[in-house]
């Protein structure tokens, strides 16, 4: 069995999420990696990929069309390489989630997203109903196309290998989509989905002004800031802060919930965090049932104290 793993590169280096995807694919047999990019970035990314141990080879496809990982040319490339592989794998990042289902449809295969565990070559475990149930599925497709929930797999090392690099040609595709511009998040804070620590606020923050009390704590911890749906619906913060079933699903090492009661909608988005801390003045709030550590008290007193105690 041979798997093709699509790697994400940023600034010429392979992301940790891609190394988690390789760790997952290791169970499936030999692994070839695929690196795409514009002609001027591809060499650095390919060299970085080649240093990852455990790869049979690194395939590179360079084209201006790949500079922004548009789904149309990327899916066409994956389909052109597919005949040599039994499994096609990527991390469940924005790029994997965008391109792999398209490639799967072109291969007439049902995509299997967010795989948490690989049981064997055709049996996979994934969450459904926002993680409220875990399903084990067996695929009858000739080829399996998977995205990997990276928080479930420890990444393979970045160094130690010396895989050969081989370039492949990008197939022609219809020129119907074009990159226009991009905007990076201005907060300077880590993104919610990839942050190691998240500080989150709910109804108890009382106002947009009140929500700002979380800023110094998040800055000191190098944390991302999240929110419950109530905080978003009340206009305290924009809705891209929302953690929950209809927002973002996160699993950081540390999740600090401030003034969040712990409705199921919210719990669905964060209950896989390694350590959960709850700060709430209502000692009966459901959040305390999932919290590893809880403080019963007024968050407007406790949060500044916590920031100070961090030194």
């Amino acid at each position: 069995m041979t798997a093709l793993v699509l790697l994400d590169a940023e600034g010429g280096s392979i992301l940790q999420t891609s190394r988690s995807a390789i760790a997952a694919a290791a169970k499936l047999g030999e692994i070839d990696a695929l690196v795409i990019g514009s002609p001027d970035t591809i060499e650095a990314a390919a060299a970085d990929a080649a240093r990852i141990p455990g790869l049979r080879k690194v395939l590179t496809a360079a084209s201006d069309a790949f500079a922004h990982s548009l789904a149309e040319p990327l899916a066409a490339l994956i389909v052109s390489l597919a005949p040599s592989y039994d499994h096609i794998v990527a991390a469940s990042t924005a790029i994997g989630k965008n391109a792999l289902p398209r490639a799967a449809a072109l291969l007439d295969v049902q995509i299997i997203p967010d795989v948490m565990e690989i049981v064997d070559a055709e049996t996979f475990v994934r969450p459904i109903f926002a993680g409220n149930a875990i399903v084990t599925l067996r695929s009858s497709d000739a080829k399996k196309v998977l995205t990997i929930r990276t928080t479930n797999f420890d990444p393979v090392p970045a160094e130690g290998g010396s895989a050969p690099i081989e370039s492949v040609a990008a197939p022609a595709h219809a020129d119907t989509s074009r990159f226009v511009s991009e905007a990076h998040s201005e907060s300077g804070r880590p993104q919610l989905e990839t942050a190691r620590i998240i500080v989150s606020g709910g109804r108890g923050m009382q106002s947009a002004e009140g929500f700002k009390i979380l800023d110094p704590l998040a800055d000191k911890l190098g944390a991302a800031i999240g929110a419950s749906r109530v905080a978003v619906d009340s206009g305290f913060v924009p809705n891209d802060y929302q953690v929950g079933q209809t927002g973002k699903i996160v699993a950081p090492d540390l999740y600090i919930a401030c003034g969040i009661s712990g409705a199921i909608q919210h719990l669905a988005g964060m209950k896989d965090s390694k350590v959960i801390v709850a700060i709430n003045k209502d000692e009966d709030a459901p959040i305390f049932q999932v919290a590893d550590y809880g403080i019963v008290g007024d968050l407007f007193t406790v949060v500044p104290e916590l920031e100070k105690a961090l030194g």
């Binding site: 924005a94 799967a104 449809a105 399903v135 226009v180 511009s181 998040s185 403080i295």
Partner: protein
């Protein structure tokens, strides 16, 4: 511009689902069902494009059991012009749904298909991308802004680390993210009016699509529970525990 909006009837997002004792699935008997929240956003966006004069007709479609007709009525009460129900088993797989939708696109010839980015029951996040692939149309997933331009659309999409804007030629497929808009509530007069709007019912089998499942469920289990935590007395004690016991800071 004609817009097709596929919508799905799913368990209401406020319901905590329970896994059946025998591990065969999730117990949905007597559970409240609603329109998938991301599909409400898709419907809202299509209606707004029509209200701005960018679109002429909004057609909603659902693939699923007979009761999905209620979900289609809800979309028409929000403002969709007409509806098509393709009857099938409960929650068919995204590949089969994408093939059904492709058959409807061939019949209806929309310029734009707007879907939700994912359904909150199977959490697949795949149907829009699969449909775009089958049609060989361009796609813009996780959209937070859609604008009609001269001969196409510009779509801003949520990506890891920020957002990016793409220009797509029409026809195209777009999937809606949470940030795209705030869906409206249907007013009582509009709910009454929606009962008179046309709803056509088709059978999946009549569209020549193989609905056979590619994935079989081996088992469904509860996620592992969390062990009970402790309450601490002060911020200083909390920091000490996070540093020395949990070792996360």
């Amino acid at each position: 511009m004609k817009i097709l909006v596929p919508i799905k009837r799913v368990v209401d997002y406020n319901v905590k689902v329970r896994v059946k004792m025998d591990g065969s699935g999730v117990d949905l008997t007597g559970v409240k069902m609603s329109m998938n929240p991301f599909d409400e956003i898709a419907v809202e966006e299509a209606i707004r494009l029509r209200e701005k004069g960018s679109a002429t007709e909004v057609v909603v479609v659902s693939v699923g059991v007979a009761q999905a007709a209620d979900t289609l009525r809800t979309a028409m009460a929000m403002g969709a012009d007409r509806a098509i129900l393709v009857q099938s088993e409960e929650s068919p797989e995204p590949l089969a749904v994408a093939k059904i939708l492709k058959a409807l696109v061939t019949r209806e010839s929309p310029d734009l298909v707007i879907l939700g980015k994912q359904a909150i029951d199977d959490d697949m996040n795949a149907t829009g991308q699969m449909l775009a692939g089958l049609l060989d149309w361009p796609q813009a997933t996780f959209a937070s802004k859609i604008e009609k331009t001269g001969d196409g659309i510009e779509v801003t999409r949520e990506v890891d680390g920020g957002s990016e804007t793409l220009a797509l030629a029409l026809p195209a497929v777009v999937t809606a993210d949470l940030r795209l808009n705030e869906p409206r509530y249907a007013s009582l007069p509009n709910i009454m009016k929606a009962k008179k709007k046309p709803l056509e019912t088709l059978q999946a089998a009549d569209l020549g699509v193989d609905m056979g499942r590619r994935l079989t469920v081996v088992s469904v289990a509860e996620p592992p529970g969390r062990k009970a935590g402790v309450k601490v007395g002060s911020a200083a004690e909390l920091v000490e525990k996070l540093r020395n016991e949990a070792k996360v800071i």
